[in-house]
Amino acid sequence: MQKQKLVLVGNGMAGVRTLEELLKIASDKYDITVFGAEPHPNYNRILLSPVLAGEQTVQDIIINEMDWYEQNQIHLHINKKVTKIDRKNRIVFTEDGTSAEYDRLLLSTGSNPFILPIPGAELPGVVSFRDISDVEAMLDASSRYRNAVVIGGGLLGLEAANGLMLRGMDVTVVHIAPWLMDRQLDEPAARLLQQSLEAKGLKFLLEKQTGALVPGESGRVCAVSFKDGDSIPADLVVMAVGIRPNTELAESAGLYCNRGVVVNDTLQTFDPRIYAVGECVSHRGVAYGLVAPLFEQAKVAANHLAEYGIGCYTGSLTSTKLKVTGIDLFSAGDYMGAEGTDAIVLSDPAGGNYKKVVLKDNKVVGAVLYGDTTEGSWYFDLLREGTDVSDIRSSLLFGQHNLGDSGHGDPHARVAAMPDSAEICGCNGVCKGDIVKAIRDKKLFTLDEVRAHTKASSSCGSCTGLVESLLAVTVGGDYSTAPSKKPMCGCTEHSHDEVRETITRQGIKSIPALMHFMEWKTPDGCNKCRTALNYYLLCAWPSEYVDDNQSRYINERVHANIQKDGTYSVIPRIFGGDTSPKQLMAIAQIAERWEVPTVKFTGGQRLDLLGIRKEQLPGIWKDLSEAGFVSGHAYGKAMRTVKTCVGSQWCRFGTQDSTTMGIKLEELTWGSWTPHKFKLAVSGCPRNCAEATIKDFGVVAVDSGWELHIGGNGGIKVRATDFLCHVKTEEEVLEYCAAFMQVYREDAHYLERTAPWVERRGLTYVKERVVDDAEQRKVYAERFYESQKYSQDDPWKARGEGVDAHEYKPMAILS
């Protein structure tokens, strides 16, 4: 089949990123031609500041070398500016008459620096700060001249000024507004910033309007004069007053532009054959000048160029960081605080610290941090997710580590301080140095890329936060926003929430039907999405859904835990951890009969029989079933165990019978499938010997009844529970537990434990459903009981009797 022709105009970050995304999903679809006006291959424009400052070289910031284009059979024309699009015949022409035909055209013409229309703007020595040639001109001037003036006290201007100062120039920043970075900072934060920059040696002229640039005898600029009559010497003038989308080419081709090439949610212009991405674009009235939105756009545009037709770009939230070494500031969202908002502020000018979080309707809508910015990403997460923060309002400014994260502190600061040899991913033995090296050498931008290349965070996922922090710390300002909507996996554009909603709204009851309805990109998904879909369908239709064994991880498929040597371990359920000599003898005899190599107490007070060969499983289960045991589900994304102490039955301090409570809870909840493993504990008094405050659902007996706690985690990232409520009776404990589990089962993403889920959703969300509204609590609990009718049959007994016999037997044994 003849390949279609795709032409990209603009060899910058957004356009080439679109090609990268496209090559990933449809590498053979197009003959690709790229036109770039600059003489360089694709480079990372946002790193020009470190190049100017001497912290990186031009070579360091090249993203794709020339041989990348060759390897991907892309025809690259550098140094050629496209000046005409013939839309009727679908041909583009360059200045020098080169032409290329297209079936699809992708415009990524970026933006142009805004040049003030003042006398002298065209003089030698006046530059903008946009591309490598500007940086070269600035470096050249810094080696020969002394006085530099930067017009514009925004992000770009300050980075340029810092670079020139580090190159030895005497730099004055001229800004028209009363404070610096007025598009990102409020006045107090900006004053702190100004002080630090002044301490570094920069000079500032605020509320100053430039009148003209004055030529010297040589014809080069020699001074800047202001409208108020003042003037200062200047051998180099950098204009950094803003950018404007480069729409010249699009306009000349008759495409509709309005402060940017206007595109729809599929990044198509008014001519559907022509796509546009990046800074040249106006989407829903917004033109973005930061990198993260461009990457989101690239992904959607690639999806449509590949003719999958399901990507949708709905706009981006952005945050700002200044790439000036030694200055930490962060800003996102509505940092000034519009009407109807209120703000929580911490101001410590002497200590160089300022924090402001802007709230509206109990949700974070903006934040400005100066000095200590370690909580920036957390506030940004709260902002993106729209989390209700009323429960944590009083401690919001003190940061995430004050919320029960047992003093681990901020992950960014923590990973930054780690030595290179520190192990980040315990499952796969990946240390910090490996990850940092991979991020730098392979120019990784996303968590998925880091997972693919290093394996870190690709097993149990408990180090995901650390890896994300490492990515943020290593890539710096480039990694500012992840899209708020994350697709489930590479097989679909849809998020977990969208999938769950579609299942219930459309009444879909099988994996193939769902994949068909939601236009899955792969014929049968992958191990990530199939396992999730199987759970979601099971949760939505407990009585009707036919479980898909091939979409279960091996542990759940064969109801035992696979171990490193391919053998399995089985853990019989011992309700509430309360056993008897008879039970123990039965287990001991069975272990002897099957020559079990290791018998081990688990962390949840159960006995683990390790080292069992797969073909032995049905036999040992049959024996265990006959002795009265059911599966402990220690292998599943399921209710695992209820840990207890001896409570008032024996303990001098016990206030309630925690063991009996534990047994009742386990009888209620065993067998239930959950988004991730789920553990409970019951302590008989506030001494909390069963460690109930690091469990998914913890119960602590007090004199007046029972305290209920949720969202704890004893894993790598320890998190103490949030207090849910106090209840008086046993019946209430059971009902609240059932309701809480059902809310979690119906709302969390697959493989999301209760701790991150509660943080994402907010405690208020849970309380509204489980505590505040008795009706709703009963409805949730009822749905849980209903579901348990179908899940409380012992998988071991069935398999001991011959179900799925093929799983356990080789297909053939050849001699």
Binding site: C427, H453, Y553, M811, L814
Partner: protein
């Protein structure tokens, strides 16, 4: 056991329905364990039942597309080549396999990999 007079020594190991769709079965042979896979499109592949990473039993993994995810550390292995999905590197030996009249024939001479 049955052989044909092809260049390979083909051994009949079972019927195609013996393997669940998107699943795998184990064949024990004098030359070691071999995993036989069945894809959505009823294609049959055979690899040594050992992930090139840490020896995980590939027959216990989840089959998707023409790949299997190793149950131990989630490496993905291409069923048709035995190669690990990039950026991982490694290769599981591939065994020639044929389906005739719904019967699966396997050759015990691996043609690539370890």
């Amino acid at each position: 056991m049955q052989t044909t007079n092809n260049q390979q020594n083909w051994v009949e190991v079972g019927r195609i329905e013996d393997i669940p769709l998107l699943g795998a079965r184990l064949v024990k042979s004098p030359k070691g364990d071999i995993a036989v896979f069945r894809t959505q499109g009823d294609e049959i592949f055979a690899l040594r039942d050992k992930c090139p990473h840490k020896g995980g039993p590939l027959s216990q993994g989840i089959v998707h597309g023409k790949k299997v995810a190793c149950p131990l550390h989630d490496w993905k292995i291409h069923l048709d080549t035995g190669l690990a999905v990039a950026p991982d590197e490694g290769c599981a030996a591939r065994f020639p396999v044929e389906v005739r009249d719904g019967l699966i024939y396997l050759s015990l001479e691996p043609d690539s990999g370890r």
